[in-house]
């Protein structure tokens, strides 16, 4: 049962991943990516990481992808405005990506993953356990990441704003 689920989810995520790459319209790419994220969330549930799955859906599908969609709409890029690359560049891209995959799988094939030493604990992915770890062992990185967020927010606001010199007089009067 779980195996079937795994294969189905894998299949879905790979196919939609490919669709992200090959879709002509950016909107289609975004939608495919959302499906991919859902498939990956399903994998998390299979891995007993239930809280992670929920957060994943909320953050990626809910926040990040909405941001992408929003920007696409803002810039009105939903048309197939993208000029085609020349064929050599495309070929080079596909070949090097496949080369990378071959190399990686080749490298990983020979590697031996050590067996788990502890018994499986299905409650690892629950909020309670994760909270314990996050606020005990990782409290400093946690605080630092909040600073990172703050900086990112400030940066995004600053970048998104028009430069003062670009604001025309009429706009000032409107304000």
């Amino acid at each position: 049962m779980i195996e079937i689920l795994f294969y189905v989810l894998s299949f879905v995520s790979i196919v939609t991943g490919l669709m992200v790459v090959f879709a002509k319209s950016p909107i289609h790419s975004v939608l495919s990516l959302i499906v991919t994220f859902f498939a990956i969330a399903g994998q998390y549930i299979l891995l007993n990481a239930q809280f992670l799955a929920i957060v994943h859906i909320i953050v990626y599908a809910g926040a990040i992808m909405v941001l992408f969609l929003f920007v696409l709409m803002l810039l009105n890029l939903n048309k197939e405005a993208e000029p085609n690359k020349d064929i050599a560049m495309k070929l080079a891209g596909v070949i090097s990506a496949s080369l990378l995959m071959v190399t990686l799988t080749g490298a990983l094939h020979g590697s031996v993953v050590p067996e788990a030493t502890l018994a499986v604990n299905t409650s690892n992915g629950l909020v309670k356990n994760l909270g314990q770890v996050l606020f005990k062992d990782f409290v400093v990185p946690f605080e630092i990441s909040s600073l990172l967020f703050l900086a990112a927010m400030a940066g995004a606001v600053l970048l998104g704003k028009k430069h003062p010199s670009q604001i025309t007089d009429s706009e000032i009067q409107k304000i």
């Binding site: 779980i2 195996e3 795994f6 790979i14 991943g17 992200v20 790459v21 950016p26 790419s29 990516l33 991919t36 994220f37 990956i40 994998q43 998390y44 891995l47 007993n48 990481a49 992670l52 994943h56 990626y60 990040i64 941001l67 992408f68 920007v71 696409l72 803002l74 810039l75 993208e82 000029p83 690359k85 495309k90 080079a92 596909v94 090097s96 990506a97 496949s98 990378l100 995959m101 990686l104 990983l108 788990a116 502890l118 018994a119 499986v120 690892n124 992915g125 356990n129 994760l130 062992d137 990782f138 990185p141 990172l148 967020f149 900086a151 990112a152 927010m153 940066g155 970048l159 998104g160």
Partner: protein, 101 residues
């Protein structure tokens, strides 16, 4: 644990390479960013898989941190793209060749 860790390793490798391929093939900067997200997710999946395999919640905490970084990256990256679009009226990375030596 019915599914071996190897399966997850290969799955995330495939997803990662799809992301790389996207980055190499597409010229739309927004799609490029999405492909980067795909790559990050491949890594996240691997993290979670190993976390479960070794029965260590730290891996999942790392996934959270990666999510934080990804969210920040997307916020800033998209803001930059909006700025670029204002200037160039396009998000085609082929046009960004001002760094020519």
């Amino acid at each position: 644990m019915p599914i071996s860790i190897d399966h997850y390793v290969y799955l995330s490798t495939v997803l990662f390479c799809i992301g790389v391929m996207g980055v190499l093939l597409r010229r739309n900067a927004i799609v490029l960013l999405m492909c980067v997200e795909l790559m990050l997710n491949a890594v996240n999946l691997l993290m979670a898989a190993f976390s479960t395999h070794f029965n260590d919640p730290s891996g999942q905490v790392f996934v959270f941190f990666i999510m934080v970084v990804a969210a920040a990256e997307v916020a800033v990256g998209l803001a930059i793209l909006v700025m670029v679009y204002r200037h160039a009226k396009s998000v085609d990375i082929g046009l960004f060749n001002k760094l020519k030596g």
